[in-house]
């Protein structure tokens, strides 16, 4: 099998705050293959953005990557100098941020902001870079691309800005594109268009995409494989098909159950009781145990590791230690 483009192993990113050390990302392992779309899902605060910023080496104080390895095409990014990282950012690994409204600089023209990265990495002259930028604005389906180049962010709608962000992230044709909730801020029709666009880019250029979201609908639509994160840790990992057909972790089951189904019109929307605990606040046992309806004594005493839950699917849950207990999960689903 081909070597993955990106391989994250044992990643630890901690925040050193006044209230102590917060392990926002705690020994996270996953990989992305060439041309693959990997989904990272989880509730707010589960560490998705911190994971992606760690890959880009853009964690700022009080945060710090304190352990692990991020290997990109066989080289550990954590050992690279700032100068070497600059050559990778935007060029080899592109990133689309969660907040389209504030991620563009309000005092520079769209064109200048797009051309900047192209000039840095491709070392082209102004004219060629400008033309290249226009090509990408058209590619992401923006009308009046030439005029937009001379406009400022405040003259664009949220959907347009997010497309500009995508064009910016794609402009240097990166091998990996990290999209941190690229559509959460947008309305449904624009969301569909943007997902369609990313899918097309993935097919046409064979770019690997890490799709971060808490929208399971998006994941089902887009991703080949899924990583489920909870409180800084990966709790389940598998192919999209496996995870939707037979989720192996109670948290994943809860997430899937809480997806609103427009057609069935349930009485009340299901939601997992309780909130995501602050990473590091639970010292012993499974982080999800206090909210888990399957929890038993061991769950509160010992922290489980990721274990094989069948067919290469991994789940961080004590139920999988024992076949009988694991069978409990199947019952709930049907």
């Amino acid at each position: 099998m081909e070597q993955p483009v990106l391989n994250v192993s044992g990643l630890e990113t901690h925040f050193f705050t006044d209230d102590g050390e917060i392990p926002a990302v705690d020994s996270v392992d996953f990989h992305v293959n060439k041309g693959e779309v990997l989904g990272i899902v989880g509730e707010s605060g589960s560490g998705k953005s911190v994971t992606s910023l760690s890959i880009m080496q853009l964690i700022s104080a009080p945060g710090k990557v304190v352990g692990g390895e991020i290997s990109y095409k066989g080289e550990n990014l954590l050992l690279k100098s700032e100068k070497q990282m600059r050559k990778i950012r935007g060029n080899e690994i592109g990133m689309i941020f969660q907040e389209p409204m504030t991620s563009l600089n309000p005092v520079f023209k769209i064109g200048n902001q797009l051309v900047e990265g192209i000039r840095i990495h491709k070392k082209w002259n102004k004219k060629d870079s400008w033309a290249h930028a226009i090509k990408f604005l058209k590619l992401v389906g923006l009308p009046r691309a030439e005029e937009l180049m001379n406009e400022y962010p405040h003259q664009l709608s949220g959907g347009m800005r997010q497309r500009v962000m995508i064009a910016m992230a794609m402009a240097c044709e990166p091998d990996v594109l990290i999209a941190d909730e690229p559509t959460t801020a947008l309305d449904v029709t624009i969301q569909a268009q943007i997902l369609e666009l990313m899918k097309r880019l993935n097919n046409e250029t064979n770019t690997s995409i890490i799709m971060i979201t808490h929208d399971l609908g998006v994941v089902a639509e887009m991703c080949d494989r899924i990583v489920v994160m909870y409180s800084g840790k990966i709790v389940e990992q598998g192919t999209t098909k496996e995870i939707f057909e037979s989720p192996k972790h109670p948290y994943t089951i809860g997430l899937i159950e809480s997806v609103p189904d427009v057609r069935s019109r349930k009485e009340r929307l299901y939601s997992i009781p309780g909130n995501v605990p602050k990473p590091g606040s639970i010292k012993t046992g499974c982080h999800f145990a206090p909210r888990c309806k399957f929890a038993f004594d061991k769950c509160f005493e010992e922290t489980p590791e990721l274990m094989d839950a069948g067919q290469g699917q991994l789940a961080r849950c004590w139920l999988h230690e024992d076949k009988e207990k694991a069978a409990l999960l199947e019952k709930v689903e049907s």
Binding site: L58, I88, R89, G94, T102, N105, V107
Partner: protein, 334 residues
């Protein structure tokens, strides 16, 4: 931008008219008969009458005002009672001296203040940051007159490095063309005199520039710290932009908007500070001109001096507003 500039200039017309009205009535609100006040108790009836006529005070106030405005439009500021010469002919050398001192003080205050603020924010909590901010705190709490006297004591009296008063070496006087001595000496190629002029500017320049410099440094630092946390700064870094440009281009242009407000305010205050500084350093500026006129009850000079300072104040504000629009594209389109 042009339309905006024109609109702002048109808006100045009522402001300037208002100012002439205030100055006009201020001088007429002095209790008693101005001619009597000017000439003193021993003046003869005749003399008072003739001075009243000379000042135009025998006319109704609206005729006086119209005459005054007419005079202003033709560049006639009236006649000095003390020197009996046209004010418009004698005021420029004083004004030039003040402008030269204020501009030098302000340019240095902005250059050092802004850069110190940027570097402090960029390397927050470094030794540079701590040192600069302690100095800035000392700077803002330093009274101008005290700083001026200490400078004279240390650098003139004790060390003898720099002259303590005046703006040129009286034994080697500058041949005035524009009355801005830095320019005059340069166009005449008199490097010896240029050096002298610079030496005379240093102490009053520091006395005048220290407070604005400290305030600008503190404002720049806090504004930069806030901007550097923005999403668009992260976007710029994710593009692979060097930190220098992230700071000096992406962040500074945004952070400069509130700094500009402070600069505008400080320029206005600087005019006030200039009068104090001019007194301490025997600087032949507009402050001294007005101060001397007050001693001689030279009302036309007081009136014109105040008007000119007020007009400068208004134009500084205009320039600041135009700079806002030039920096922030969101302003023009209101």
């Amino acid at each position: 931008m042009l339309a905006y500039t024109i609109r702002r200039l048109l808006m100045l017309i009522p402001v300037l008219f208002g100012m002439t009205l205030i100055v006009f009535f201020m001088i007429r609100a002095i209790p008693g008969d101005p001619a009597q006040v000017i000439l003193g108790q021993q003046a003869t009836e005749e003399a008072i009458k003739s001075l009243t006529k000379q000042l135009g005070l025998d006319q109704p106030w609206y005729i006086q005002y119209v005459d005054y405005i007419k005079g202003l439009f033709t560049g006639d500021l009236g006649t000095s009672l003390r020197t009996s010469s046209e004010i418009s002919g004698e005021i420029w050398p004083y004004l030039a001296a003040t402008l030269e001192l204020s501009l030098v003080a302000m340019v240095i205050a902005i250059f050092i203040g802004v850069n110190a603020g940027i570097i402090s924010a960029w390397f927050q909590n470094s030794w540079f940051d701590y040192t600069a901010m302690v100095l800035a705190l000392v700077g803002v709490s330093m009274p101008v007159f005290w700083l001026g006297l200490m400078e004279q004591w240390a650098f003139s009296l004790e060390l003898g490095w720099l002259p303590s008063t005046g703006r040129e070496n009286v034994r080697n006087p500058v041949e005035a063309i524009t009355h801005l001595y830095l320019i005059d000496t340069l166009i005449q190629g008199r490097m010896d005199q240029f050096v002298e002029v610079v030496r005379h500017l240093i102490l009053p320049g520091i006395a005048l520039g220290t407070i604005p410099m400290a305030i600008i440094a503190r404002m720049t630092r806090s504004s930069m710290l806030e901007v550097m946390r923005s999403d668009f700064v992260r976007t710029a870094r994710a593009k692979g932009t060097r930190m220098f440009w992230v700071v000096y281009k992406h962040s500074l242009k945004n952070a400069f908007i509130p700094v500009l407000t402070v600069i505008g305010l400080q320029m206005g205050l600087l005019l006030g500070g200039a009068i104090l500084t001019e007194t301490i350093f025997g600087w032949p500026g507009i402050g001294r001109y007005i101060y001397d006129a007050i001693g001689f009850r030279d009302y036309p000079v007081i009136q014109s001096g105040i008007l000119i300072v007020a007009v400068i104040f208004v134009f500084i504000n205009l320039i600041v507003d135009l700079l806002y629009a030039a920096i922030d594209p969101r302003i023009k389109y209101n």
